[in-house]
C-alpha cells in the first residue's frame, strides 16, 4: 500500500515535471535562433549542456508519467499515443544532444531541420498530454464562434430523440448505454473487464463481476452499480475512478432505470412515467412525452403552391395555413350551394387539407364520397346540410378524423353505429339530428368518443 501511495505521489508530479524539458527545449531553440540572427558566437558546450538538461528532465518526466499511467485510472486507448510519443521524444533529445556536442554529423543544415522536427514532436506529445488532463475541448471551449465551428470537436453532443416516438426508443440501448459508453465502457467492455465486469449488455450487467451482480431488477438501492456511482468521490471504490463522475441527472436516470422492470429491449412506451421522469427525459434527451397532435406526426407532405391555392378562391373556398412551417391548410366554403367541381378542385390538395368546413351549403350524400378521399382530414364540419345515413357510410374511410360536426343534418341512429367504428374520432356533434337521446347516452357510456348534444 505504501509503495502504491509513493508511486501515486510521484506519478502525480508528472504534470509538473513535464514542463521542465518543454522549457529547456524552447529556450534552447530560441537561443540558437537569436545567436544565429545576431551573429553571436558562444561556446557550443553551453548549448549542448542545455540539451543535456532537457534530456535528464525528460527522463524524469517519462518515469513519473509511467507511474501515473500504471495506477490504472486511465484507459490505455486514451494514453497510448502520449506514452509512446513521450518516450520517442526522450530518445530524440538524446540524439540532438549528440548532434550539438558534435558527436554526430549527418548533413549540412541538420541543426535547423532537427530543431523543427523536435518542435513538431513536442507539440504532439504535449497536446496529447493536455487532452488527458483537461479534456479535448479545454482550450477551444470559449473560443470565438468561427474558430469553434471549424475546430471544436463536440464530443458532448446532446443526444436528441426530439422527433422519435416513445415506442421506438429502447430504454437500455438508447438511454442508458450512451452514458455507460461515455463514462464506464472503456474499462468494462468485451476486451477489458476490470473487476470482471462487462457493461455492454443487460444480461452481462445482471451477471455482474467479482463483487456480485451489478444490477438488481427493480431495486436501485441494492444494485452495486448504483452504490458505486453514488459513493463519496474520495472512496476507493467510487466509479468511475478518473475525474469524470456521472452527473446528477445521469445518476437519477440510472436510478429510474434500475427501479423499473429491466428487460434488455424494453421500450419507453412500455413503462409508466411519473412527472419527474418526464422532466428528466426531456432534459437529457429532449424526449417529448406529450401526446403529439396528428398534424405533428405527418411527414413528407408536399409543399403548398400559393399560385395554385389562389384558385380555390374562384370556387368559393377560403383557405388558411395551419402555421409557419406546416404545409397544411384549413378550408372553409363561403358559398351557399356546393358542387362537385368545387370539391374536385380541393381534392388537388388532398394531403394538405386537415380541416374542412362546409356549412349550410346543400351538401348531399354523394358529395361525401368525394370528401371521404381526404386522407389527412382531422376536422370536418358539415352542419346544417341535407345529409342522411347513406352519406355517412362514406365517412368510414376517413382514418384520421377527430372532430365531426353533423349538427342539423338528417342522420339517425344508424349513423352512430357507423361512426362508432372510426377509432380516431374524439368528438361528434349531433344536435338537432334524428339520433335518439337513448342511443347517444348508450354510445357515450361505451365509447371514448364523446357525442355532444344541445338543448
Amino acid at each position: 500500500m505504501i509503495l502504491f501511495d509513493i508511486s501515486s505521489f510521484f506519478g502525480r508530479l508528472h504534470p509538473l515535471i513535464v514542463h521542465l524539458p518543454i522549457g529547456f527545449i524552447i529556450i534552447e531553440i530560441i537561443l540558437e535562433w537569436y545567436l544565429k540572427v545576431n551573429k553571436i558566437y558562444i561556446s557550443n558546450k553551453i548549448l549542448s549542456f542545455i540539451w543535456f538538461l532537457a534530456f535528464i528532465s525528460s527522463i524524469f518526466a517519462v518515469f513519473f508519467g509511467w507511474l501515473l499511467a500504471s495506477n490504472g485510472h486511465y484507459a490505455e486507448d486514451n494514453i497510448y499515443l502520449h506514452r509512446w510519443s513521450g518516450i520517442l521524444l526522450v530518445f530524440f533529445i538524446l540524439f540532438i544532444w549528440g548532434l550539438k556536442s558534435k558527436m554526430i554529423y549527418l548533413f549540412k543544415s541538420q541543426n535547423s531541420f532537427f530543431n523543427f522536427l523536435i518542435i513538431i514532436i513536442l507539440l504532439i506529445v504535449s497536446h496529447q498530454g493536455g487532452k488527458i488532463t483537461h479534456g479535448e475541448n479545454y482550450i477551444l471551449e470559449y473560443s470565438p464562434e468561427f474558430i469553434k465551428k471549424k475546430f471544436y470537436n463536440n464530443t458532448n453532443t446532446k443526444i436528441s430523440y426530439k422527433d422519435k416516438e416513445l415506442d421506438s426508443i429502447e430504454i437500455f440501448k438508447e438511454l442508458i448505454l450512451p452514458i455507460f459508453e461515455h463514462k464506464c465502457i472503456s474499462c468494462h467492455n468485451n476486451e477489458i473487464q476490470m473487476g470482471e465486469l462487462n457493461m455492454t449488455t443487460v444480461a452481462k450487467l445482471f451477471k455482474g463481476g467479482s463483487s456480485g451482480n451489478a444490477i438488481i431488477n427493480k431495486n436501485a438501492e441494492k444494485s452495486i452499480l448504483f452504490n458505486r456511482i453514488t459513493l463519496p468521490q474520495n472512496n476507493n471504490k467510487f466509479m468511475p475512478p478518473n475525474s469524470n463522475p456521472l452527473t446528477y441527472d445521469e445518476i437519477n436516470l440510472i436510478k429510474w432505470w434500475l427501479n423499473s422492470d429491466i428487460k434488455s429491449n424494453n421500450r419507453l412506451s412500455s413503462v409508466k412515467l411519473e412527472k419527474t421522469d418526464k422532466w428528466l427525459l426531456n432534459k437529457l434527451f429532449e424526449i417529448d412525452t406529450k401526446e403529439k397532435p396528428f398534424y405533428d406526426k405527418l411527414k413528407n407532405i408536399s409543399k403548398l403552391d400559393y399560385e395554385k391555392l389562389k384558385r380555390l378562391d374562384n370556387v368559393n373556398f377560403t383557405w388558411k395555413i395551419l402555421a409557419e412551417n406546416y404545409p397544411l391548410i384549413e378550408l372553409n366554403y363561403i358559398g351557399n350551394n356546393i358542387e362537385d367541381t368545387s370539391l374536385n378542385e380541393i381534392l388537388k390538395f388532398n394531403e394538405n387539407i386537415i380541416a374542412l368546413t362546409i356549412k349550410d351549403s346543400n351538401l348531399k350524400d354523394s358529395h361525401l364520397k368525394l370528401i371521404s378521399k381526404l386522407k389527412n382530414l382531422m376536422i370536418l364540419n358539415i352542419q346544417n346540410n341535407p345529409i342522411t345515413d347513406k352519406g355517412v357510410i362514406h365517412l368510414g374511410s376517413l382514418k384520421n378524423i377527430e372532430k365531426l360536426n353533423l349538427y342539423g343534418t338528417k342522420i339517425s341512429n344508424i349513423s352512430l353505429n357507423i361512426l362508432s367504428k372510426i377509432k380516431s374520432l374524439k368528438t361528434i356533434y349531433l344536435w338537432r339530428t334524428k339520433v335518439s337521446i337513448d342511443k347517444i347516452n348508450e354510445f357515450n357510456n361505451n365509447n371514448s368518443t364523446k357525442v355532444i348534444l344541445g338543448v
Binding site: E145, F146, A323, E324, Y326, N405, Y407, T427, G454
Partner: protein
Amino acid sequence: MNCNNHKHNYKFSRRDFLTKTSLGMGALTLGSLISPTDLYAKNTYIDKRIPHFPAKVKRVIYLLQSGAPSQLDLFDYKPLLNKLNGTELPDSIRGGQRLTGMSSGQSSFPLAGSVFKFKKHGKSGAWMSELMPYTSKIVDDLCFIKSMYTEAINHDPAVTFLQTGSELPGRPSIGSWISYGLGSDNKNLPEFVVLVTKDKFGQPLYSRLWGNGFLPSKHQGVQFRSGKNPVLYLDNPPGVTADLRKEQLEYLKKLEKINHSDVGDPEILSRMSQYEMAFRMQSSVPEVMDVSKEPDYIYDLYGKESRNPGTFAANCLLARKLIEKDVKFVQLYHQGWDQHNDLPNAIKVQCKDTDQPTAGLITDLKQRGLLEDTLVIWGGEFGRGSYSQGTLTKDNYGRDHHPKCFTIFMTGAGIKKGITLGSTDDFGYNIKERPVHIHDFQATIMHLLGIDHERLTFKHQGRRYRLTDVHGNVVKEILS
C-alpha cells in the same frame, strides 16, 4: 458654449459620418465575433398572416365587465370574512396597500363578508354564489383564474391596461393586435367587432379602448349598435343608390392609387380597403344583425332580454352570429359593476343582466361545435376589496377598487375545463398562489391564437412595440 450649433443644419456632417460609421463598423465586427448568427435581426413582420404555431383558438369572444365585478360576492368564497364581519382589516393583511381617494379617508376598514350564499357546483366543485344560477350549471366547462392582478387602481388606466397592455392611452387594443397578426377570415365583415350594452351607466367607455393605436387603421374595432343603423355612417344617404356608390368608389380608388404612388403613405391603402369593406358591409351587416329567424328556444336559452336589441343578452346572441360568420374578435362591454355602495342590491341587477346570457352563449356555442375553436372570456379590469367602503350594516355594504386580486373565467378551445387556477388568502385580499398578471393573461390569449406574443411587433416611433411590452409569460397550467 456649444460649438456644434450647426448640427441642426447638417444632421449628418462628413465628420459625423466618419466617426459614427467607424464606431459602428467596430461594433458590428465585435458583434459578429461574439455571435455571428445573431448579427442580423430576425424578421418579425408578418407578411402572409400565418400563425407562428398551430392554434387551438380561431376566434375570441371577450365579455368585458366594465367597472370591476366583486369577486368576493360571485366566485371567491371567503367564509372567514363572514366570521370576522365588522372587525377591522388587519394591517398585516393590507400591508400598506395604497387605497383610492374614495376610501383612504375612512377611519375604519370593517371586513365585510358576502351576504350571498355560496355552494359548490358540478363535478369540479367550483364555488359559486347564488347570484349566478345559470353559470353555476356550466362550471364544469369553465376555467377560473382566481389570482389575477393588475397594476392600476382606477378604472380608466386599468381597463386601458387590460385592453392595450399600457395604462396610458394610445396603444392598440388586443383585438387590433389579433386582426393585425392573423388577418381576416371573412372579407365581408371586420375582424374586430365591438358591442356595448345600451342604456347602461358607470365608468365611461371610449372608442380608444378598441382603437388601433399606431397599427394601420383597418385593424380598429368596429362598433355595431342596436337599432336602425348598426354601423354609423354605413348606409348610403337618401337618393344615392348602390350602383352610384359603387361607381363613385371605383373612381375614388383610381385617384387614391395615384395619390399613393406619389406619397407612399400606407394609410391610403388602409383607407381604400376600408371603403371597399364598408361597401360590402352594406349588405353583410344587415344580414348578420337580423335575428328574426332565431327560433324561440334560442331566445329562451339567452333569456327573455335577448329579444330586446342592445341588451347584454341580445349582444351575446349577436356575438354568436358574428362568430359563426368567422369574425375573429368580438368584444362585448357591459357597464355598471362599480359598486362602491349598495353593492348587494346593485350586483343583483348586474347578474340578472349577464348570468343567463353568458351561460346561454357558452351552451349555444357548445352545441353548435363552435366552442371547439372559440375562446370565451368573462371578467373585469380589477377586483373589489374585502373591507366595506362606507358604513357596514347587516345587509348592506360597498366595496372599493382592489387591484391585488380578482377572478376571471374562460372557456373554449385549448383551455382545461372544470379547473381553478390560483387562490387568494382567507381575507380575499392577497394572492396566495400562482399570481397571473395582466400581461400573462394577454400572452396566453395570443398563445392560444397561435401567436408568439414576443414576435408579434410593430415598429412605431423608432422602436418595436408589442401588446405585452417586455413582459408576459404564457399561463401554461390552463392550456389543454
